[in-house]
């Protein structure tokens, strides 16, 4: 459990860091050139690390399903949705909704146990936990004073 939480915290810290770097690129290149560059870099890094760790095993794709090839397009859908959401609502509200939606769907996926993940039964305690986190997000985002911060987060995606 602790290992999982630590890994998630590492992932989140790097997402925050990468968001800031991506903003800098975005300022000069626009959102699609940035998205292309970021995914290209991510692929190269993953592939090289994988090659180093797994060797030729990188090329043996057991039980490869056709839809796996298209899963990367989800990320493109993310960019389109968020760019449009921010354009219509402004960064503060759009990003607050995005973060809330992330959590709500996480709870949904856990309770349904889709995609062969271990099912986590839906309980009142879980709902309360998620509601408190969403409350925290809203206090963090909507209390003002970090307008610039929100713009940066919004531009990154």
């Amino acid at each position: 459990m602790i290992v999982g939480i630590i890994l998630a915290l590492i992932a989140g810290s790097l997402v925050g860091l990468q968001t800031i770097f991506n903003n800098k690129v975005n300022e000069h290149m626009g959102s699609w050139a940035t998205t292309t560059l970021v995914l290209g870099m991510g692929f190269l890094a993953s592939f090289l690390i994988g090659l180093f760790v797994e060797g030729a095993g990188m090329f043996t794709l057991h039980n490869m399903q056709p839809w796996y090839w298209f899963s990367g397009m989800i990320g493109v859908g993310v960019v389109i949705s968020i760019v449009k959401g921010v354009k219509q609502l402004g960064p503060t509200y759009a990003i607050s909704i995005v973060l809330t939606s992330q959590l709500a769907f996480a709870l949904l996926f856990d309770s349904l146990g889709w995609f062969g993940l271990e099912q986590v039964p839906f309980t009142f305690k879980q709902l309360l936990g998620v509601l408190i986190i969403v409350g925290g997000i809203l206090v963090f985002k909507l209390s003002g004073g970090t307008e610039k911060n929100q713009k940066q987060v919004a531009k990154a995606v």
């Binding site: 290992v3 999982g4 890994l7 998630a8 992932a11 989140g12 790097l14 997402v15 925050g16 990468q18 800031i20 770097f21 991506n22 800098k24 000069h28 626009g30 959102s31 699609w32 050139a33 292309t36 995914l39 290209g40 870099m41 991510g42 890094a45 993953s46 592939f47 994988g50 797994e54 057991h62 490869m64 796996y68 899963s71 397009m73 989800i74 990320g75 949705s81 449009k84 219509q88 609502l89 509200y93 939606s101 959590l103 709870l107 856990d110 993940l117 309360l128 936990g129 998620v130 408190i132 986190i133 969403v134 925290g136 809203l138 206090v139 963090f140 004073g145 610039k148 911060n149 940066q152």
Partner: protein, 141 residues
């Protein structure tokens, strides 16, 4: 209204991407999953860029190399969140990711690191992070 739907879809797709990666890695391995999703994402984004041409590719020379290579961090991000999802579930993973993400952004903003405009720490942001951590503890116990 359409903006709200787009924002909800954006969040749903971020979570879906994470869950899909965890699922795919179960069959073909984590580094393979990270490579394949980003490769197809890269190709799709490149095709869209070639059609919409919303910016200049050549301008990357004006950006610091550190920022240009920031995308490489995704290798560790995807790998870590795949393992986390398998160990602690989707809700806990997303919650912990969001806490660290907002926390680190806030820290960088308040120190003015990486050429960002320095901003003062404010009480509501502390309260917000505190509430998020409380929620995660509640999920965990």
């Amino acid at each position: 209204m359409r903006g709200i739907i787009f924002a909800i879809a954006g969040g749903a797709l971020i979570t879906l991407q994470g869950v899909a990666n965890a699922r795919i890695s179960h069959n073909i391995g984590s580094w393979q999953a990270a490579s394949i999703t980003q490769l197809t994402g890269f190709i799709t984004a490149l095709l869209i860029f070639l059609v919409v041409r919303d910016g200049k590719w050549q301008n990357f020379k004006q950006v610091k190399p550190l920022y240009v290579t920031g995308g490489a961090l995704a290798a560790v991000i995807i790998f870590s969140s795949i393992i986390a999802m398998q160990q602690i579930g989707v809700t806990m993973t997303v919650s912990a990711v969001l806490i660290a993400q907002l926390g680190i952004t806030f820290l960088i903003d308040s120190t003015g690191a990486f050429d960002v405009v320095k901003q003062k720490m404010r009480l509501p942001q502390f309260i917000g992070i505190g509430m998020m951590i409380t929620g995660v503890i509640l999920l965990g116990i």
